[in-house]
């Protein structure tokens, strides 16, 4: 299977949503804060369900939160 890179705007969206904390987002979607940290750092790609949940929490389409690129070495949208 070809590999790509999933990047995200979770960090930016958190700040645009009343500076939501990682803990608040984690609680809203039902995961640990460490999982949100890993997603923001692009170290962990969430399941489709969790990705939709995050997008739903921000009231935004999935494509605005996550994006996919086929190039191998793409830097994360929001490296921490």
């Amino acid at each position: 299977m070809k590999k790509g890179q999933i990047s995200n705007n979770v960090r930016r969206l958190r700040f645009e949503n009343h500076e939501m904390t990682q803990q608040q987002l984690a609680k809203a979607v039902g995961v640990s804060r460490q999982t949100i940290v890993a997603i923001e750092k692009c170290k962990y790609s969430p399941s489709l369900e969790l990705a939709f949940l995050i997008a739903h929490t921000f009231n935004t389409p999935l494509g605005d939160v996550f994006s996919f690129c086929m190039e191998k070495k793409v830097t994360c949208a929001n490296p921490s």
Partner: protein, 150 residues
């Protein structure tokens, strides 16, 4: 440190303690020649049961101590975090590696049994030790994955 990481650390510490005690006990049996005697099967079976019981007790004691120290040091109450999807993937990955490790260890022991001059009771003891070794490796991998993010 998340509650999942804490659980893994507790499991790792208790596994290390129990494995060390088991190796010490097994080496004592081997050196005394008890594994060659008529009571060998009873000793091996009994030691496995004692190790399971000791493992549970050590794990509970360390968990309590760890929770007390963690609460005193950080002021955080122990949460009741359930495992999320990332925790389950880490668990799965670590379990796969532990299974492969144990399989190789078991095959190596069978090889030694087939071509070497090692008794079946010592092989049984080493198989149990190999199982605990795989469990320790699994915990180490989990800790690394948690520290790295995934």
């Amino acid at each position: 440190m998340s509650s999942q990481e804490k659980r893994v650390a507790v499991s790792l510490i208790s596994s290390l303690i129990v494995l060390a005690l088991y190796i010490y006990y097994g080496a004592g049996l081997h050196n005394s020649g008890a594994l060659d005697g008529p009571e060998a099967s009873h000793l091996v079976g009994r030691s496995a049961f004692i190790m399971i019981g000791a493992g549970i007790v050590v794990s509970i004691v360390i968990h309590i101590l760890f929770t007390i120290v963690h609460t005193v040091a950080t002021g955080e109450q122990a949460g009741e975090d359930s495992a999320d999807e990332r925790d389950k993937l880490i668990e799965l990955k670590a379990m796969q590696i532990a299974f492969v490790t144990f399989s190789f260890g078991f095959m190596a022991l069978l090889g030694v049994m087939a071509f070497g001059d090692i008794g079946p009771y010592l092989v049984t003891l080493l198989t149990i030790a190999c199982l605990y070794g795989a469990s320790i490796l699994s915990d180490c991998i989990k800790l690394v994955l948690y520290r790295r993010g995934f």
